[in-house]
């Protein structure tokens, strides 16, 4: 057994083959695939003796956190075994979140670390080399052998209040450098610090308000780069800030002690490796065969298709989190289906909502009872492809909240509103950068709670925020931000990942009320162009009708079908290609699954669909003028039908009951129905003329041709698009 850096047993398989939005940790090493060459390169780069700072940068979502936790840190700590990363209170590697004041964030993390490790508190984790004189509350500074140049003054007293320490660091960043050096000198291994999302020092306060914190941070880095102690700092940030950071560092830092590494986004090959790793039949040293544990496969070609689709999306927020979300959803759905034997006939596959307890990161024992199953192309298509999966993920987690921990706080009828409300609250954390990139914002928890109250959310905001920030979900993250002026700590929230920001942004754009096709009451002029294709207009009309009237109307329609002369008015209305009336009974809307709620309607609905030429007004004028008797007979059974004459109230009524088409295809958009009829006459005439003219002499042909011309000329007007309306 290898002792894990998380203090857990590492040689056990992780519970889930895919991580969702949460990053890979040390426990996920056997599933972390595709980054071997990057790990080797960074280990080599950071291992150079004189290097103090490593700038680790990549596109958003390229997997920097996972790379560190499941790749680099286990490699440096367990394999090379010469390094030790700063730990948080749970003993996990502490990635100090930058915020707009990274120096203060780091100072706070360091202060807490010292307080835990060097105070006399019995729960503290101690290493062999540290001061074991538990009688004192002070950091006993004992320089390591060979570090005789070390300052001998006691820099930090654990009695110093955190805020006081942060303030002192703000005045003189050297204090932080010296403190870190002292810790480093106390550790038997090379001490490594990680600051994450350092772009926030620029993005959160891009204006001059953020300048003091930026200057301070780069001063601190400059000092640190010159340190003679055995310590390293890894600075993680989005690649687009590399130029800016490097330029700033060049002013004061010793650039010969700074290395950088660009972590590339996953290639198709690496993605395939990540998708397929849990299904692999190859031994993972110390763990066994992944397939023996997870027992599933993909249908042939499907992983390639998924990888291609992921890459084609050009996802803002990275392809890796999207992969984790979608693969986990498909996996869970397929697993559920195989375990419950959901019938194929129903066809509907839903992603199971997991209970809160199931999100624990604790490993579970291998369950040999899992029947092997396959993720099929059908579930891939049924669940929806990559598009929308991220939003669906947020949606399903919000639903999970309403199903389990907070079920009693929201009535069934209010659930949709509650979910919508919380999605809006989350959307308030979306920030669009000047270059159009969508990222997460960091806003005070208090402000987010108020936002939840404004959106009418019923669930206590504090509880919901905690639920969403659960490690397994990671929709939200808590971040402590230090106020630059007073050094007061403000508890803030951000989204768990930038990919959520882009998904929520997309959702809010789609959900804007004006993009909806509200039925009725829309001003005719604003009707969308999607009702029109070429010269044809697609009209949809729906009118409510008392159910007892439907049989009468059906009777009338059967008479109309049987007696052709009665249809002559319709033919007379020359702009009609094709039209149909459909009566849908109040209980006749298709119901396909027990999960689909039943309709509870009082009225039957009469639908009218038509494809006509000309404008909406011309068409309705024609109805009113030519068809009024027939139409009145059909529509008079509908609620509040005013009659087709006079035309103004008639148009008002149709306007009210018409709804817009989202997509309209027309095989011959350039031709009206009259054009088609004319063309058919020409075609038939030409056919008969060509037959009859085959044996004619030249003189006979001339006469026959002339007769033919006279016959077809009226039908030869050329077709084409109507002039643009102005």
């Amino acid at each position: 057994m290898t002792s894990s850096i998380d203090g857990k047993t590492a040689k056990r398989w992780p519970r889930d083959p895919y991580r969702g939005l949460t990053y890979y940790t040390a426990g996920d090493v056997p599933l972390f695939a595709g980054r071997e060459s990057d790990i080797d390169a960074v280990c080599g780069s950071i291992g150079l003796g004189n290097i103090r700072i490593l700038l680790l940068h990549g596109l958003t979502g390229c997997g920097k956190s996972s790379f560190l936790r499941a790749g680099l840190i286990p490699a440096l700590e367990d394999e090379i075994a010469g390094y030790e990363f700063l730990r948080d209170e749970k003993g996990r590697p502490d990635f100090v979140r930058s915020t707009d004041d990274p120096t203060a964030s780091l100072a706070r993390a360091i202060h807490r670390f010292i307080k835990r490790e060097y105070s006399s508190a019995p729960e503290s984790r101690r290493t062999d080399a540290r001061d074991v004189n538990g009688s004192s509350n002070s950091l006993r500074y004992e320089p390591k052998e060979g570090s005789a140049t070390a300052r001998t003054s006691l820099v930090l007293d654990v009695h110093v209040d955190e805020a006081e320490f942060v303030r002192a660091v703000a005045v003189d960043t050297q204090k932080l450098v010296r403190t870190v050096e002292q810790i480093a000198s106390q550790r038997p291994r090379t001490f490594v610090l990680v600051i994450d999302q350092v772009e926030e020092v620029v993005t959160l306060k891009p204006d001059s308000m953020g300048d003091p914190a930026r200057i301070q941070f780069f001063d601190f880095l400059a000092d640190l780069s010159r340190s003679r102690y055995d310590l390293k700092m890894i600075i993680c940030f989005r690649t687009e800030y590399h130029g800016q950071f490097y330029a700033q560092l060049r002013y004061g830092a010793d650039v010969s002690r700074i290395n950088d590494y660009y972590l590339n986004d996953f290639t198709e090959e690496q993605l395939l490796e990540a998708i397929l790793r849990p299904t692999s039949r190859e031994q993972v040293p110390g763990y066994g065969v992944p397939y023996d544990h997870y027992r599933f496969d993909y249908e042939a070609d499907l992983p390639g298709e998924i990888a291609k689709a992921l890459l084609a999306r050009g996802l803002s927020g990275g392809v890796l989190p999207a992969l984790q979300i979608v693969c986990r959803r498909w996996y869970e759905a397929a697993k559920l289906k195989s375990s419950t034997g959901t019938d194929e006939e129903d066809g509907e596959i839903t992603v199971p909502v997991r209970s809160n307890a199931e999100y624990g990161l604790v490993d579970v024992e291998f369950n040999p009872k899992i029947t092997p199953f396959t993720i099929k192309k059908t579930s891939y298509t049924t669940l929806g492809r990559v598009a929308g999966q991220v939003i669906s993920y947020v949606q399903s987690e919000l639903e999970a909240a309403l199903k389990e921990p907070f079920a009693e706080r929201v009535r069934a009828s209010g659930r949709r509103n509650e979910i919508d409300g919380w999605r809006r609250v989350l959307t308030s954390l979306v920030k669009t950068q000047i270059n159009g990139t969508v990222t997460t914002n960091v806003i005070p928890e208090e402000a987010l709670r108020k936002e939840a109250a404004r959106k009418g959310c019923k669930i206590e905001p504090k509880d919901m925020l905690l639920f969403l920030s659960d490690e397994g979900r990671r929709i939200l993250r808590f971040v402590d931000v230090t106020k630059h002026t007073t050094k007061e700590v403000i508890r803030c929230c951000s989204l768990g990942h930038d990919i959520l920001a882009s998904a929520l942004q997309e959702w809010s754009e789609r959900a804007r009320p004006e993009s909806y096709n509200s039925i009725g009451g829309t001003v005719r002029d604003t009707r969308t162009a999607s009702n029109v294709n070429g010269k044809a207009y697609a009209m949809n009309v729906m009118t409510p009708m008392e159910p007892w009237k439907s049989p009468i109307l059906r009777g009338l329609f059967s008479v109309l079908s049987a007696v052709k002369p009665l249809q002559k008015d319709l033919k007379g209305l020359s702009s009609n290609h094709f039209a149909q009336w459909v009566i849908v009974g109040r209980d006749r809307f298709p119901h396909l699954s027990p999960r689909q709620p039943r309709e509870d309607l009082r009225y039957d609905y009469l639908f009218f669909f038509s494809n006509f030429n000309g404008t909406w007004n011309q068409y309705l004028d024609g109805f009113s003028a030519v068809l009024s008797r027939g139409l009145d007979l059909i529509w008079r059974w509908s609620e509040k039908y005013p009659g087709s004459v006079p035309v103004i109230p008639f148009k008002g009524y149709i306007n009210q009951v018409q709804f817009d088409t989202d997509y309209y295809y027309n095989a011959y958009p350039k031709a009206t129905i009259n054009d088609v009829k004319a063309a058919l006459r020409v075609h038939d005439a030409l056919e008969s003329f060509s037959k009859s003219s085959q044996t004619l002499s030249s003189a006979e042909f001339e006469k026959a041709y002339l007769r033919f011309l006279i016959g077809v000329l009226p039908d030869l007007g050329s077709t084409g698009m109507a002039p643009e309306e102005t």
């Binding site: 409510p544 309709e599 494809n611 709804f659």
Partner: protein, 205 residues
Amino acid sequence: MAVSGLTIFSPILESDAMGIEHASSVRRYLATLPRTHNSPFARVPSTHFARLVVMDDVVFVGAPAREEHLTSRYLLFEATFDSDLDTYLARMAREIPDHVDSIWSHCVGYPGAVDPTAFVGYMKKCQVEATFSFADVSDRTVQQNLKALQVQSALAHFIERNQGRPATEIQMAFGVLLESLAKAPPPLPGGIDSETTAAENGTHD
């Protein structure tokens, strides 16, 4: 062959499973779908017309009628086509499975287009019979209509080019016209792109 119509209401996955975004996702997808000769429906060449509508709710015409609401949103598919219903739907599943999946995967109980029989079965479960339908030109296929439009256009050009010429030359040219029409590739359904259209609207040669 008679022209037929179909009306299909597929309940959209909504409140419990995926919520609002299914309706919006399908709407968004439909908004990006090409509408001319590169439309997926042009690849199901028996389609005269096809429309897709996300129906959010039923209408309310005002008091004294009673206001009521649907519990599901429905994706309405209305099409006019040649051939019988089963053949038409199976052809959709075979010719444009990706598009069909992208559209109906947002609907309750959708089995996927992989198995055309299952797809046809699903669509027929969602079908609502038309109570009365009417077609002005009801006895011609899409191809016949398109061919007629092609012939009409070619003949108009022919007459324009050959006016005033001696009868013998016209007779010969007429033979060439018939031959070229017979050999002409079948016209594309769905019309062509706008640039070509603008040119066609210019002066004829």
